[in-house]
Each structure stands twice: as structure tokens, then as C-alpha cells.
């Protein structure tokens, strides 16, 4: 996930000096990910993660459910819009396939694996705040069928992800 728009004078250019000219609450000279620390909820042990804060969970039927981490939703703040992929879309590992928008910023959601979208969480269209309330559960974003199931093993395990979060 990466912030693609917010106060663009910051998000697009990360120009602290320019931003100091702004009386804008969302304009501050570090990325939100570096600035804000937040109390973490427990990370479920059956998940794998990308450094960019997406999670993946292998289901019994070989599909993989994808969402954004609780840490990520905390950084974004109240979500107001989720742009979902379409069922049947081809997605590539590491490329953007959904967008989550909070009041503060828009962020791309990257696919953790290459494959085909088989299900999307349509409920988020009317209730995007579900991602804030239950990022690892009801706030899932889409389900994909991976081309190569072994890609899953390349993702971060919960301990490695927690370490990454603690460092930021």
C-alpha cells in the first residue's frame, strides 16, 4: 500500500519545506507511516504480509484472501471509499489492484500474489469503515486464485511483519 494522494503538496513530493507554508492539518513533513505510532491489535498467526502492509490468508480451497493490516488502517484513519477490482481481473504480485481512500489520503493496495480475482468484498462499497473496524476479518478486500501457490511462502510471517511495524 502506498499513499498516492492526500495533501499532494506533501504526498506527491514529500517536500517538507513547501508544506511548512501550509496551514493544513494533513500536511506534515514526514510520511504518515513514519510519524504516527499506534497501539497494535493482535496479528492473527495464519496471515502473511507484504512490506507495503497488505495481508494474505491461504484458504482451504487454494484461494487467497487479501486485505490491509490493522496498522495500515490506523495510519490512514477513517476510510470513506474503497475502489474494488472486478471479478475476473488479472492481478500481478506487487502491482496496484485496489484503492482505499480515507479522509486523509488515497492509497494503492498491492496484490501479494499473481493470479485471478475470484471474489470482491462488495459490502465495502457501502461500508468502507468496516476496514477500520475489522481489518483482518470483515474488512477483507478481495480473493484471488494464485497462478503459483509457492509465492505465498515469500511473504512476511506475522513476526517479521510485527518487527517491520515496530521499526517504523
Amino acid at each position: 500500500m502506498s499513499v498516492t494522494a492526500g495533501c499532494e503538496s506533501l504526498a506527491a513530493r514529500h517536500d517538507a519545506n513547501t508544506c511548512k507554508q501550509h496551514e493544513h492539518p494533513l500536511c506534515y513533513p514526514d510520511t504518515p507511516f513514519q510519524r504516527i505510532s499506534t497501539a497494535m491489535s493482535e496479528i492473527p498467526g495464519d496471515l502473511r504480509f507484504m512490506k507495503s502492509h497488505e495481508w494474505a490468508r491461504k484458504e482451504g480451497d487454494g484461494t487467497v484472501t487479501v486485505g490491509i493490516s490493522d496498522h495500515a488502517q490506523g495510519l490512514l484513519g477513517d476510510l470513506v471509499y474503497v475502489e474494488l477490482p472486478s471479478v475476473g481481473d488479472r492481478v500481478e504480485a506487487g502491482s496496484g489492484c485496489a484503492v482505499v481512500e480515507s479522509v486523509k489520503a488515497a492509497s494503492d493496495v498491492y496484490s501479494p500474489m499473481t493470479g485471478t480475482v475470484v471474489r470482491v468484498n462488495q459490502a465495502l462499497a457501502d461500508k468502507p469503515e468496516t476496514v477500520n473496524e475489522d481489518a483482518f476479518g470483515e474488512g477483507w478486500i478481495f480473493v484471488l486464485r494464485p497462478d503459483d501457490a509457492t509465492e505465498y511462502e515469500e511473504l512476511l510471517d506475522p513476526d517479521a511483519y510485527q518487527e517491520l511495524v515496530d521499526q517504523t
Partner: protein, 362 residues
Amino acid sequence: MTLQQTPLNVRHRELGAKMVDFGGWDMPLHYGSQIDEHHIVRRAAGMFDVSHMTVVDLSGARCREFLRMLLANNVDKLKVGGKALYTCMLNERGGVIDDLIVYFLREDGFRLIVNAATRAKDLAWIRAQASAFEVGVAERSELAMVAVQGPRARAAVESLLSADGRAAAAALSRFAAVESDGLFIARTGYTGEDGYEIVVQSDRVPAFWNALLDAGVRPCGLGARDTLRLEAGMNLYGQDMDEDTSPLEANLAWTVAFDPPGRVFIGRAALEAQRAAGVARVLVGLVMDEKGVLRHGQRVLTAAGDGEILSGTFSPTLGKAIALARVPAAAATDASAQVDIRGKLVPVRLVKPVFVREGKAV
């Protein structure tokens, strides 16, 4: 760089605020949910620590004469002690150095409240202009400021005042202030709701904040402050106007007093030239009925050419995206336009740049 802290910094952290670096100040963005805080101000009462803003007191017999020249609005509108005026302070090119509120305290004493991020340049400019008028310019950095806003805000503040203070505050008309109980109480704000902005000694502000909490006022962060002011159609300095934008291009013509014609103020000649030639770009409001969020910097496509979004957000009150945009003047009366959102052209409606007033959609 060490961030500056207001006297409420520890309290914000105790209340669970997410803190952000805001123009060099360590300020609360929200205390849990920016949207909840927004609704609290529209429906009840919320409070904001705005101690980062700069209070400047002017003194001297020639204050009024000085301000007639310094400000684009006319301080001669201020006839009664305590009355306030919103105005721009312009450069010679007619560009906005800052927007501010000027309070008439006494004939030899006026108070300015200016933005935090512009503090240094504002003070330098004001001091440079003031010397010829023998006007003293004192920054009051020992003062803190709390904005209490919402339909229940005034009653909550008044419940904490002495009988005299309560009577004085309750009697305030809009855009007026009074000094009472050691507080400077102004019936002003930046949310589109009724309420007070209260200047208080820094050492007293934590107790004052706690008393407001006990009176049922909820703490709100700068995130909600931004969505509230945008719904109310209030400009944000540095984003909706700056030194290269005139008030006429920023929907602030109403704050420029061209009458009387003989009053010479800084920037006047440039504004008159711009007015005579026709203002090329104007500020309009946008509403998007489709899902998504309008953002600063997005391109606005009109029949008369491109414009851009200055401030955009999701409006919690309307449940849809709104924005302030600067577009070619010829497009200002159009009913609709398109906005380029990540390569997709999305239709928007052009509206007057006021979206919500006193809790209701406009």
C-alpha cells in the same frame, strides 16, 4: 528539528491523540475518529487546541491609521470595542501574505490573530510597515487559544464563567469579543458553527481544557477542523490562496473594501488593475455525486479550459466528496465539469463554495 509544543501537548497524548508535525508544531490530528469528531461539532460541541496560532497585539495612538494601510478590509468598520473583522493582508502585487482576524480593543490597541505557519513572515512584514506609524508590535507567545464550536458550545463555555462573564459572553454578537474572567472570549470560529474562540494564559489552559471536558465538550483534532472549515467554504491559507493569488481570485472579494476610494492600502493598485482587466480565474465549489474523494491538485476540466482543485475532501455531513477549485472565470457559471481522478474523468457539479452551514446542507 524539534517540534514546538502547545501547553496542552501532554494532555493530548493522555487523551490518545494521534499527533502530527503541523508546520513545525506537534499537534493532534484526531483522538480516534476524525469523522466522529466532525459530527460532534455539527451536532453538539467540540474543542480544538489552536494555541499554535499567533496572537499579535498592536499599540500606539496611530494603530487605526496603520491598519487602514496594512489591511485590505477597512478597520473603520470597527466602531465598537471588541468588534472583529476578517481580512487579508496583501503584498504590493495584491497577493495574500496571510488572512487574519483583527479585533478592536481600544483606539490605541488592536489585536491580530494570524496563522501559525506564516508567523515569521507576518511579523517581519507587520513590523516593517509599523515603524513609520510608531506602532508597537508585540507577539503574545505566552497566550494559548482554544476554539469551542458547535450548537452546544456557547452554553458549555458559559457554564464555566462567573455570573458577569456569563452575561458578557452571552451578550456577544457574532464576530465580537470581550475580556472577562481573565479570558479573551471571541464569538468567532473556523467550522461554520456558532461558538467561541478563547485566548487564555498558557498556565491556565490545561485546567480550562479539563473543565470543558467535564462540561461535555469533546476534544477534536486538526483533521476534523479541516473537513469542517471546508464544508463551511472557508479558505485555508497556503492551499486556497497564497502570495501569488489575489482575494478576487479566492472568493474573498467580500473582504476587500474599495470604499472609500481614497483609502490607500497595500495591494490596492494591483487589485484595481485586476478588477478593471477582469479576473481570469475564480474559486468555485465542486460536489461529486459519484463515490470517491476529491483531492488537492486534481485537474478540473471545463469547457473554458482546465482548473485545479485547491482543497478537496470527503464531506462527512453530505456523505460525498466536495472541493474548492480554481477555474477559468468563463467556466464559473457552468453547471458541471469533470475531474481527473487517477486517469478517470468523473463528473462534478459546480456550486457556490459553501456546502454546510450550522449543521445543514446548503
